[in-house]
Amino acid sequence: MSAVTATDLVKIYGTGPGAVRALDGVSATFDRGRFTAIMGASGSGKSTFMHCLAGLDTVTSGTVTIGDTELTGLTDRALTGVRRDRIGFVFQAFNLLPALTARQNITLPAELAGRAVDQDLFDHVIDVLGIGDRLGHRPSELSGGQQQRVALARALSTRPDVIFADEPTGNLDSRSGTEVLGFLRDSVHRLGQTVVMVTHDPNAAGYADRVLVLADGRIVEDTTR
């Protein structure tokens, strides 16, 4: 079964003559345990596509299904619950709540759900990402690469159905970027995670198993390796 399915997604920003058709009938399925990259020129609709897939934004028409849950039509409350329990996020910048320490940021989703933290998984993820000695620090005391790794740890530690990453390396130097991409790929291949990553960087896309290319709100290319 596929982790995420999108059918005939249309997203229109604004109304009247100024309206922008950011997504124009996009359909795609994302299989479990696969690393998919979404590419395209700036303004092609990559971020919009991801926001709609992740239930961050509503669609104008079409449906999104995560696992067996259809997102369209869910109340804000239910949608929030889906994001909390079944989706992990890594953003380009501003991934962490500044008032919380790294550890608190990582355990935040479990905390929000009122669940106990899976300590084994937590330890494993921390170990793999090598941030064990930074757990007591606040985001302002971490480098950009460390912040991204903490965000990654947060996304992984809930064992989500899918992790969405929007330009996760956009703000990083190439070495940190390479590290983060390596971790993402390892999480897919070793832990069996499903990852959907938006990027405009061909190097980054090179880590993925499959590459979708968007142009003007449509899928124009779909390559699987």
Partner: protein
């Protein structure tokens, strides 16, 4: 260059007028309060001048003495026989006690002709007194004293030497009211009853066509023949104006007090403005850094930011003044709706301009510290990302040192305060202690946040993730939290101090009342005859409880230097009597040959616990002192004895005390009177006196809390603006939290709790500072009030403050909850 910098800053302000209002909201409220006070004063004085006068309209001339002896009968005769005088009326008030001389209720007897243009009363029923030993009472006195037309009252003159007089009540009247019960009689009869033949004041009615100036001249000439007489003669009109002025003057003092509280509120507003601008400038840090990077000097930035502050102050000050003026104009119409007549305040332009300029200056001043801090931004900041800017460290070393220094100074002055106990400097030192203590709080605030949060935030952590997020949110920005909480603390310090002071006053009043008014009702028999039948009947009546007979007598010291009352009563029989406290010895040790003394009696007798004293009256009693009370004895008596010892003293008269168990006071009073007491028995409603004292304390409490509420209001505005501005700044953070699964409701809850925490931390700080300050004040001002810790009331203050601040945070919380999770991803 400065102009360009200023323009970039001001254009930002103008683009977002909402933010301008938010930064200046505290100043707006302060301007409103200050100008509102000016207008309220204008309204009160105009209303008083327009409507107040204790002198009837018909009075054309008033002769009165200022200090010294009253106008004697010869002088009054001289006035009466002056050419043109149609009628004169002496004005005097004599105070009597009805019932027992020391424990009965007060009755003011006022002189009034009863009819004609000089009268101030109207007859309701019966006839106005026309012969000696007759009085008319007002309706309230009639009800309270239980007299009807034709009934009698026994009046004790204020100087105890005078024999009680029995008077007949001939009529019931309506007249000007006062807190005391009032009775009325023609001037000569008042003089005869009080034994004082003169009047401090005489009202004169001129005959038709009389020449008033000539009359005044004539009177002055005849009255001032005696150079030692302090007599003044003036027209009725100028007397009326004078009385109105005096009434206004009494408001002057009140308004001076109000002005003090308003001043504290203004300080609070300045603190709020400082904290708000600090946040606004922090949000503009990147823009300011960019300006610095391209060559703007620090002082240019400071000037630009200070001018911005002044502009905000002028604008919001003007709005506040206009709102207050509108409210002032609306006041007469509003009062009319409640059936009151109130004069319009007018438009005090000078005061308005002063308030607006003051608001501008205050805000420019408040902005200086944040402006210097903001202008010190490193140009590199322009290149950093937003999340790094949100980081906040503790406090700098100089600030810590300064704060500790202030703590030391505060301690030193507090020590001086204790040392100068009772002297006139004590108050000055006390104010100093408060001011420096508060300064220390401002400087050290950020360090105190985390420890207080650990305690105060504990219950919130149990609220689940929203609570924990709120606690760590505040803990992560200790400086901001301190800046807001300190303003809340200012209000709460004053409130807590006042509450402690008033609780002490209340305890003192309760103790005093326990001795003065040990029961709801008291009966004093005239003769020696027992009241056993009455006691039995009252005990059988379910409307009464704690029915307790007592007997009392007078005694004096061996040399006759003073005289006190002695009472024999079961000290365990009534709840109030059981609360009597001894400063030395044990009240329960009372027995045959033993005596409990009041504080004054003990000092008059020079006796301590364990010593034997001699009490002299018709007989002599020697008794060992077993306890000395903190104040008076029951019914203000000097000594408590056993019945046998009191009998040995001789001349004892009996009485009964009782509490009302069920039903209304008037009904119980009637039953009490109807219990079959022998003739000449007087009844006193002691509960009335207690209610009056309680009422005074609680209105004092209400007034103080109301005025201090202003400061708390401004603090709440501060919390609201801070939360509002933080919300603007934390859009990304909230978006992220929403993306990660925080529901809207929980986000609202979290922000509300953050606002509540500002309030709670402020309340804790305020109580920690206010309570010791109040104790220091009670101790050093030698007010002789007991120290109290009204934990319940203080907890209520903390709770109410937290609630108010939660409410202040709700509006911004609602807005924040509307943040879309996509906002987290928006690159800024």
């Amino acid at each position: 260059m400065t102009a360009i910098v200023l323009r970039t800053q001001l254009s930002g302000v103008l683009r977002r007028p909402g933010r301008l209002l938010m930064t200046g909201l505290s100043v707006l409220v302060a301007a409103f309060v200050v100008f509102g006070t000016v207008l309220a004063y204008a309204i009160v004085s105009r209303t008083t001048l327009d409507t107040f006068s204790a002198t009837p309209e018909a009075v054309s001339v008033v002769a009165y003495t200022t200090g010294g002896a009253p106008l004697d009968p010869e002088q009054v005769a001289a006035i009466r026989t002056t050419a043109g005088v149609a009628e004169v009326a002496g004005r005097v008030t004599a105070t009597f006690t009805v019932g027992d001389a020391s424990a009965g209720s007060d009755l003011d007897l006022l002189a009034d002709p009863g009819t004609g243009p000089l009268s101030r009363i109207t007859l309701v029923s019966g006839a106005y007194p026309a012969a000696a030993r007759q009085i008319a009472v007002d309706r309230r006195a009639a009800g309270r004293l239980g007299v009807t037309v034709g009934g009698t009252l026994r009046l004790n003159t204020p100087n105890r030497a005078g024999k009680p007089v029995t008077v007949t009540v001939t009529g019931i009247v309506d007249g000007p009211r006062d807190s005391a019960e009032r009775a009325w009689a023609p001037d000569q009869m008042v003089a005869a009853l009080s034994g004082e033949p003169g009047f401090p004041r005489v009202d004169v009615l001129a005959g038709p066509g009389a020449d008033i100036p000539a009359m005044i001249n004539g009177m002055s000439e005849r009255l001032l023949r005696d150079p030692t007489a302090y007599v003044s003669v003036t027209t009725g009109d100028s007397m009326r104006v004078r009385e109105a002025r005096a009434a206004v003057q009494q408001f002057d003092q009140l308004f001076a007090l109000v002005a003090m509280f308003v001043a504290i509120a203004v300080v609070a507003a300045a603190l709020v403005a400082t904290s708000t601008f600090r946040i606004v400038f922090a949000q503009r840090m990147r823009q300011l850094a960019l300006l610095r990077a391209i060559g703007a000097q620090r002082n240019q930035l400071v000037v630009a930011l200070a001018v911005e502050g002044a502009v905000v102050g002028l604008v919001t000050g003007t709005v506040g003044v206009l709102l207050a003026q509108a409210a002032g104009f609306a006041a007469p119409a509003l009062a009319a709706m409640f059936g009151r007549t109130v004069s319009a305040p007018g438009v005090p332009v000078g005061a308005a301009v002063a308030v607006v300029l003051g608001a501008g200056l205050l805000t420019a001043g408040a902005v200086l510290a944040p402006a210097f801090a903001a202008a010190g931004v490193s140009p590199l900041q322009a290149l950093r990302s937003a999340s790094t800017l949100a980081a906040e460290r503790g406090i700098t070393v100089p600030r810590l040192v300064g704060g500790l220094l202030l703590v030391a100074v505060t301690g030193g002055i507090a020590w001086l305060t204790v040392r100068s106990m009772g002297s006139s400097e004590a108050l000055l030192y006390l104010v100093g202690t408060g001011a420096f203590g508060f300064g220390a709080l401002i400087l050290l605030g950020p360090v105190l946040i985390r420890p207080i949060l650990a305690v105060a935030g504990w219950p919130l952590r149990r609220f689940g993730p929203a609570g924990r997020l709120a606690v760590s949110g505040i803990g992560g920005t200790p400086r901001r939290a301190a800046a807001v909480s300190v303003v809340v603390a200012l209000g709460v310090t004053m409130l807590a101090g006042t509450v402690v002071g008033i609780s002490s006053l209340q305890l003192w009043t309760d103790r005093t009342m326990a001795s003065r008014t040990p029961a709801d009702l008291a009966m004093f028999a005239e003769g020696r005859g027992g009241l056993d039948d009455v006691v039995a009947r009252l005990r059988a009546d379910s409307r009464f409880r704690d029915v307790t007979p007592f007997r009392m007598a007078d005694f004096s010291s061996t040399d006759g230097g003073f005289s006190h009352g002695a009472i024999a009563v079961d000290l365990t029989a009534m709840p109030m009597l059981r609360t009597l406290e001894a400063s030395a010895g044990q009240v329960t040790a009372l027995g045959p040959g033993k005596v409990v003394l009041s504080a004054t009696a003990a000092s008059d007798l020079g006796a301590g616990v364990g010593e034997v004293v001699t009490l002299r009256s018709d007989g002599t009693v020697r008794a060992e002192v077993v306890a000395i009370l903190t104040g008076d004895g029951p019914l203000r008596m000097g000594a408590v004895l056993t019945p046998a010892d009191l009998d040995a003293l001789g001349g004892a008269s009996p009485g009964v005390l009782a509490d009302i168990a069920t039903g209304g006071r008037d009904e119980a009073l009637a039953a009490f009177r109807g219990a079959g007491a022998p003739a000449g028995t007087e009844v006193a409603v002691l509960a009335d006196a207690r209610d009056k004292a309680d009422g005074e304390v609680s209105s004092l409490f209400a007034a103080a809390v109301g005025l201090l509420g202003l400061t708390v209001l401004i603090a709440a505005v501060g919390v609201g603006t801070t939360t509002g501005l933080s919300v603007l700044e934390r859009t990304q953070e909230f978006g992220l939290a929403r993306a990660l699964g925080l529901t809207r409701a929980r986000l609202r809850l979290m922000i509300g709790m953050e606002a509540g925490l500002y309030g709670l931390i402020g309340a804790v700080l305020g109580i920690l500072l206010g309570v010791p300050m109040a104790w220091l004040a009670l101790e050093s001002l030698r007010l002789d009030l007991p120290m109290t810790l009204p934990a319940g009331r203080l907890a209520a203050i903390a709770l109410v403050t937290a609630t108010i601040t939660v409410l202040a945070g709700l509006l911004p919380a609602r807005r924040a909850a509307r943040v879309s999770p996509v906002a987290a991803l928006a690159a800024d």
